[in-house]
């Protein structure tokens, strides 16, 4: 059977030749520039050699990576649960939807920097500040995406389901929730990228651990190599989290292929 074959096929992380070539070209150009910098009037620390960057990578402190990762995952889970719960309530109650929708749009229009300043002024605890900023930025994205998807469940399926007289909970858990799973995955992918960027900025202010803090230290030391190394770690984290979500997506949404 075709479907049985498809169930086994989950995507593996591929690394196409073109990607490898473009990365190699970038590395060669960077290395060449680092050697040519003094002749071009660029300060030597501005473009460190790859060896210097490799040395910085070797000094990466895993605890900072783990702390940032934990902050991102924790905040994403809280944002998702809150966003989904509120979306379910707004889907169920039209008047709640009408009252809350403008407020959600307003929250989404506030710049991240403003949220960070509010967090610093409102809350004394560093962890709470970072969590607050992440949740207030990512939560509304989960909410809006899932609510739109709930409203987009085909009328024919809603009609069919209602004809079998489900309870409210059955209606949600057997129709609405499974129907919006593809959107939930898309929303997670968007929010992972958003959270990685936001957590770095949030950690720059007041945190004494995490990648954002280490980037701040590197900036104070004028160490471009360290900035480069920590940035690489951030990018790798983003790719890793995206790969985990993509794998879960392929497994759970195998019915789509």
């Amino acid at each position: 059977m075709r479907h049985e074959e498809l169930r086994e096929s989950v995507p593996v992380l591929t690394f196409p030749r073109q990607t490898l070539v473009s990365l190699l070209v970038f590395a060669v150009v960077w290395e060449a520039l680092s050697h040519l910098a003094p002749y071009l009037g660029i300060p030597p620390f501005a473009i460190p050699s790859l060896v210097r960057i490799a040395r910085s990578i070797a000094t990466i402190t895993p605890i900072d990576v783990v702390v940032t990762l934990a902050r991102v995952i924790g905040a994403l889970i809280v944002s998702f649960v809150l966003g989904l719960a509120l979306a379910m309530a707004m889907y169920r109650s039209d008047s709640l939807n009408k009252y809350l929708h403008p407020m959600i749009r307003l929250l989404m229009a506030v710049p991240v920097v403003s949220w960070i300043l509010f967090a610093v002024l409102w809350f004394p605890g560093v962890e709470f500040r970072i969590g607050f900023v992440l949740v207030v930025v990512c939560g509304p994205v989960f909410l809006v995406d899932t609510l739109d998807a709930m409203h987009g469940v085909p009328r024919e399926l809603r009609h069919m389901m209602r004809s079998f007289r489900p309870t409210t909970l059955q209606y949600f858990f057997k129709l609405i929730l499974p129907a919006i799973v593809p959107t939930i995955f898309t929303s997670w992918k968007v929010n992972i990228s958003l959270a990685i960027r936001v957590v770095t900025i949030a950690e720059l202010v007041g945190a004494v651990t995490g990648i954002g803090h280490q980037l701040s230290v590197a900036q104070e030391l004028f160490s471009v190599a360290d900035v480069f190394a920590w940035t690489l770690v951030l990018v790798a984290l983003l790719f890793l989290l995206e790969a985990v979500v993509a794998r879960a997506e392929a497994r759970i949404l195998r019915w789509r292929t």
Binding site: M1, R162, R165, K174
Partner: protein, 264 residues
């Protein structure tokens, strides 16, 4: 689940359904003072032109819409006001299969059984039994997109029968299939409905289908008023061509053809 004593009778009295158009606010009468009674285990075909209110009647029968005036009673209960009372006793087959794409054929067929809270093992056994009866024993784990249109509709029929309903409603359930598949599925549907002792109401716009399946044909005029109520078994099979002509003329003129009154 079906009553041990058999399905209850259906009585429609003075049924009227008026919709208000969203854009103009104008009232549209979809069903106008409809009276009819359907006996337990009867197989009834409702025939009418497009836009005559057949589907509105279907929604009212399921209980998804409230009558504007009048009432539908199944036994002594209303499918709208006593909505939950009919969980597991009314089942539907739609024009499109309306299967949940993320569920396998087996999981689609057992959906109504989950809703009535049967133990999981029993759900599987019953759904599997119905899929086997509909010739889908080899495809229980297939997803809807892996099945043909006819196979998907079979799953939808299995889903409707699995719950053992008192009343089966089919809205143009075979109209979108090719003639051979449609005829085959229609026969299976009727055979199973009669075996199960369910009351079956089939809504269709195809005269051949209506004459072929129903113990009784109810002809809807515009807007869903009763133009004719024909007990097919009282007609000699040799005169089906005349019956067909008379129904056609009734539909065209929106007026009962006198030939329908004189059963040969």
């Amino acid at each position: 689940m079906a009553h041990m004593s058999g399905p209850p009778p259906i009585e429609v009295r003075g049924l009227r359904k008026v919709f208000r158009q969203t854009t103009t606010g104008q009232a549209v009468v979809a069903i106008d003072r409809l009276d009819l009674a359907i006996a337990p285990r009867e197989v009834v075909a409702i025939v009418g032109q497009t836009g005559c209110g057949k589907s509105t009647f279907f929604d009212l029968m399921i209980g998804l819409e409230a009558p504007s005036e009048g009432a539908i009673h199944i036994g002594d209960k209303s499918p709208y006001a006593d909505f939950d009372h009919f969980r597991g006793s009314i089942a539907t087959v739609f024009q499109q299969d309306r299967l949940l794409p993320w569920r396998s054929a087996l999981d689609n067929a057992r959906l109504p059984l989950e809703l009535i809270g049967l133990p999981e093992e029993e759900q599987r056994e019953r759904a599997l039994m119905w899929l086997n009866r509909l010739g889908l024993g080899q495809f229980t784990n297939a997803y809807p997109h892996e099945l043909s249109g006819g196979m998907r509709q079979r799953v939808a029929i299995a889903r409707a029968f699995a719950v053992g309903p008192d009343i089966l409603l089919a809205d143009e359930a075979f109209g979108h299939l090719d003639e051979v598949t449609a005829a085959e599925l229609r026969d299976t549907f009727l055979k199973l409905a009669r075996e199960c002792g369910s009351t079956a109401i089939l809504i269709t716009h195809q005269l051949e289908e209506a004459i072929g399946v129903g113990d009784r044909i109810i002809v809807f005029g515009k807007s869903a008023r009763l133009l004719a109520d024909i007990h097919v078994r009282e007609w000699d099979k040799n005169r089906y061509a005349l019956l067909r002509e008379a129904i056609q003329s009734t539909l065209q003129n929106n007026l009962a053809d006198p030939r329908l009154a004189s059963v040969p």
